[in-house]
Symmetry: C2
Subunit: 422 residues, 2 copies
């Protein structure tokens, strides 16, 4: 009989329970012990051995693989101990990998173990391992995606049911899509961690998440969604990373997360509710897109257990590693500052409708070399104010900021929202 693969699991929340359920039918894999924070918490599954001391697990010589599905940064030290104890790691922890991945991967290489993390980005969608294997012949120029299901759910509901941001956030919380403190999702942190991890493997560079620009969806109102729709766009929270070519510096990366107006012709515009989608561009493959559930008990367990089975199947003995899972690069990417990026912009402007208002907006644009692509004013409100929508051609972020400052000098004009156009 084949030797059983022995697991220690850290965390028994939604994902952990999903993993235990999916593993329950697999007789060649044994869960030696599960570490939880609170032993007395009620759970709808039972495990043979449970502990509230995770050190029992990472130091247990009987365990081959540590499955970390607790999340957060507290597990960092535990995983370092586990790696030093020559245990392979399967983790879904995006924040940990985005912040401390380099250190963990270095340590894993030294100790001849692998770290697998398919579940850390886009839940059940196979992405990390395919990029490292089937797509390994490619030089990528761009990766862009809807990586956060919570915000995509909120934006979809705002659009389809014409509800406010707050109403949709509440809905998302009631359905368990958003947490009580939704900051991690709605302010773009979650998508930022994920795009950092993806950029790392797509461009073979270490990424400083401190240099990733991120902006959430809290400023998006249903009026923006309605107006974008009139111009042929949907509003999506997109995480993207692109190779830039500025002043002969071809290895500069533009990595960021923020809401964008996506043209309805583009495939990302069709991604609804909590679904995730990732678009990769490279040579020789051209464009490929992956779509699926980005979170949830079972989709995430699919990736976690896929990693466990890959380790079981490909790594027969200890001290054998999968070379393609190893992180060889140690150089940090040069990351462009958001001020130096070039974008098109949607501006929603509130103005007192006096003669010359449009003229003032136009002049301010001209002053900073910004061409207009569309402009729309639909009538005048009872209080003599008017909503004016401007969509610009490509210009520097720093110039649009200067233009906004300039135009707002006049007390009659106020830029209520500024959203980049993809």
């Amino acid at each position: 009989m084949e030797k059983k693969l022995k697991l220690g699991i850290i965390g028994l929340g939604t994902v952990g329970q999903g993993v235990v359920k999916v593993l329950s039918g697999m007789h060649d894999i044994e869960i030696v012990c599960v570490a939880v924070k609170n032993l007395s918490k009620k759970r709808d599954i039972s495990v043979d051995s449970i502990t509230d001391n995770p050190l029992d697990i990472v130091n247990n010589p009987d365990i081959d693989v540590i499955v970390e599905v607790a999340g957060g940064l507290e597990v960092f030290d535990l995983l370092k101990i586990a790696i030093r104890n020559k245990k392979h790691i399967v983790t879904a922890n995006k924040e940990l990998l985005a912040r401390h991945g380099s250190e963990l991967f270095d340590l894993a290489r030294k100790n001849n173990v692998v770290i697998m993390y398919e579940a850390a980005v886009a839940g059940g969608i196979p992405l990390i391992y395919p990029i490292k294997t089937s797509l390994s012949a490619n030089v990528f120029s761009e990766v862009a995606g809807i990586l956060n299901g919570t915000t995509n759910y909120i934006l979809t509901k705002m659009e389809e049911e014409n509800l406010s941001y707050d109403e949709c956030l509440l809905k998302a919380q009631q359905l368990g899509y958003a947490e009580t403190n939704p900051k991690g999702d709605v302010e773009g942190f979650d998508a930022m961690y994920k795009i950092a991890i993806l950029s790392n493997i797509v461009f073979n560079k270490r990424i400083d998440i401190g240099k990733i620009y991120h902006e959430g969806i809290t400023n998006i109102s249903s009026i923006d969604i309605k107006l974008a729709d009139e111009f042929g766009y949907k509003i999506k929270l997109v995480a993207q990373a692109k190779k830039m070519c500025i002043n002969q510096e071809s290895d500069m990366l533009d990595i960021r997360v923020h809401p964008v107006l996506v043209s309805k012709n583009q495939s990302l515009a069709d991604i609804k509710n909590a679904t995730n989608a990732i678009l990769l561009k490279g040579f020789p493959v051209g464009e490929v897109m992956f779509v699926g559930a980005g979170a949830g008990e079972f989709p995430t367990a699919s990736s976690v257990v896929g990693d466990i089975l890959t380790i079981k199947s490909e790594i027969k003995e200890k001290n054998k590693i999968l070379p393609m899972t190893v992180c060889h690069h140690s150089e940090y990417a040069k990351q462009i500052n958001i001020d130096d990026t070039v974008n098109c912009y949607y501006l929603r402007i509130n103005a007192v409708n006096t003669p010359g208002t449009i003229g003032k907006i136009g002049l301010a644009c001209g002053k900073f070399n910004i061409n207009l692509s569309c402009i729309l004013q639909k009538g005048v409100n009872d209080d003599r104010s008017a909503t004016i929508i401007v969509i610009t051609e490509e210009c520097f972020e720093k110039d649009i900021n200067l233009m906004i400052k300039d135009v707002e000098k006049t007390s009659e004009i106020k830029v209520l929202n500024r959203i980049r156009v993809m």
Copy 2:
């Protein structure tokens, strides 16, 4: 220095040339020799060593991996010799794998070598290896896809430019999307080979392609496309394989390729031109979709070279294999006959517009237990004939065939086309 991986390539057509170009920058891989049919044919690349005797390659002890990009069944014997000579195989040959895959995989297992074939299904889209690794925790219930770019291109053009099938086929041939003899694509053979290969790995069963129902797009007219559009559908050539549960036989497979009316809400309806898309349904992952270029020099080369790099990276010494690439199952699937499947149907009927015509159609449906879902007649032609569109609820394929025979007994009624609804 690391040992170079030494390749022998069979075939230097579009894909072969793409592979040579992509490999040209990789210094740890050496192309020892390329076998071609015609040495004097002009090509836009040159290789160091070329032969018109492929036996030189499969018998060359210096070569580690045979890259077969010639296509067709002639290479079967060559690959068997190569495997017996302990060479790993990378192939894009869908017909060979669909017809003789079982024999090749058995032989590879005996000889401790791997056969990689990411390029055989859906060109550049990573699919085979992700299913075997990242998605390996899943039990799949269904795989469905647009697997043939040529026919999807023709159907898209017919729809968008309101052209006939023949005009669009000619266009596809001029652009190099379709061959001079287009039979393999337009009659559904190409998609049939691909769904056979996918079903094999998704359901872990051997597939008898003789039992796969296949029907091409040669009977689709632009009038069908227009009428389908009015009812909210697009017409696509879809290859699908589903697990059935009939009379307690839960391992029966329903595998087939034919045109279908796809509701515009479904993601496959949005797949345009030569793009391929594959939808997988399973537990625990739920639904995942992969979209990208299904053919072409470079996308296909992406998958071929990805396989070569995976072999190079994961298989250091000879006699080490990737367990996940091995085909362990030897049992044949039970495949359902198309007559026993249940579908909804679109019928385009031409009838002489006499009193009772609709009644006759309705009665024939009733006779065979077929419920109608939609019925449409728009006016009467000058010759007193009328076009009547019927969309049925679910019924047995054998019953719709009997109903059509029955209704056509009356000389005034003729069913001009019958297309299944997805």
